[in-house]
Symmetry: C2
Subunit: 275 residues, 2 copies
Amino acid sequence: MAENRPLIWLNGALVPAAEARIDPADRGLTLGDGLFETIRAENGVAQHAQLHLARLRQGAAILGIGVPLEDPKILTAFTEMLAANHLTAPAVLRLTLTRGPAPRGLTPPANPHPTLLITAATLTVAPETIAAIICRSTRRNEFSPLARIKTLNALDNVLARNEAIDRGAADAILLNTQNTVAEASAANLFLLKGGTWLTPPLPDGALPGVFRSLVLARQAAFEARIAEADLFTAQSLCLGNALGVQAVASLDGQPIEMQADAITALRNILRPGKT
Amino acid sequence: MAENRPLIWLNGALVPAAEARIDPADRGLTLGDGLFETIRAENGVAQHAQLHLARLRQGAAILGIGVPLEDPKILTAFTEMLAANHLTAPAVLRLTLTRGPAPRGLTPPANPHPTLLITAATLTVAPETIAAIICRSTRRNEFSPLARIKTLNALDNVLARNEAIDRGAADAILLNTQNTVAEASAANLFLLKGGTWLTPPLPDGALPGVFRSLVLARQAAFEARIAEADLFTAQSLCLGNALGVQAVASLDGQPIEMQADAITALRNILRPGKT
């Protein structure tokens, strides 16, 4: 990657990241009024891009934000971004869509000009096993439609991650307001029980992750409500998203069983060429 | 105001708004990782500015974001902004603080450079009475510490406001996850009962608004849990924030009593010279 001169894609043009300008009045900044997608790329090709764009459009419809480009043009922008930044090694694309600049206040403008931003970076290799905690500082709000879309309102997730780091762990599992398990700070949760992978259903506050949807579509996991106590008796616990799968070796300092074959099977669902 | 050439204050300098640049990697944009304050100004003077800055610092401490300037310098920036934009009529300042630019991911950077932004605009006169609804599309998450601070994660509030507009009203009252009343989309709620103003307590999901704190400090209102049904039997309902007080004339289409003297008394707490 051209580390010293990375390019980003902003509203239709590739521009040097150091010069790209977001308007201080952009509602993405002022109100978190927007969405994002985080997409893995291999050999210069965005992986499962159609699934990511379908989810983006679902979220945009819920928020009433127009997606300013058709899918083929966004896919072309992904390819251009990866090529322009010489990202042939595993990489990560981030697409951000906001409602665009507007005067002060919650009410959306009558004639919005959404902002579409794509950035790219080398994918840093994450540890295969991690220590995790159960987040005590905040809860996931399963009553909000925002729990079902990947919005720019990620501050509860930041609080959860910060708590994990403060407590000497790498990630945090969030409970919802009814005290059942929702997901991790930036990944869905998968729990092995009786040899079967289970994952919390969407009404419990799980984000409909792209990796989660791939796993469910292959019946490699099934939706089931997960209680806090279930976590400690799991045959394995994994945190998975489009970038990778991490096995939880300990939770709140207690060791968690890890069944290598089941974890490998889950991880292989993300392998390029497997879809 | 210099409508064609408004100036904003960004990280220590007054710059034309049309040229001011927010970095696309700013965590305020990418994650909503930041806070804001909305401050009324009269005759070029920010009102209750110390209360706003105290609340900003409380929120910044919860998020672990450093405020890059001491209060006197921020107060000077407010005055400069109002003067530079010729805002002598009632105006509104908005201060935005973010954790600043960072690489992708939830984990905050080790060495952050927070972004501090101040914008100003003429205060548009809001109607003194409005139609309101009870929000059905989302709920306030009283389990999150973010309910107690004014963050850039305002998308639940945007959803509530949009629902109000869709249903022919001006604003929405949000319930929390236990179905008791929390606040309105951008204001605290005040309910007159037996001649006394009541307002939801913070654990019920009320933001600690600056107007709310002024009202409580004078014992012009008292904290009390408010059930949804209580709203319809109120002697008056008002939505109040630092910019003004609006009386609710109807809720979900049902007329609400309005006691003019009590509403005027509440409204007068915001009058300049009254503190």
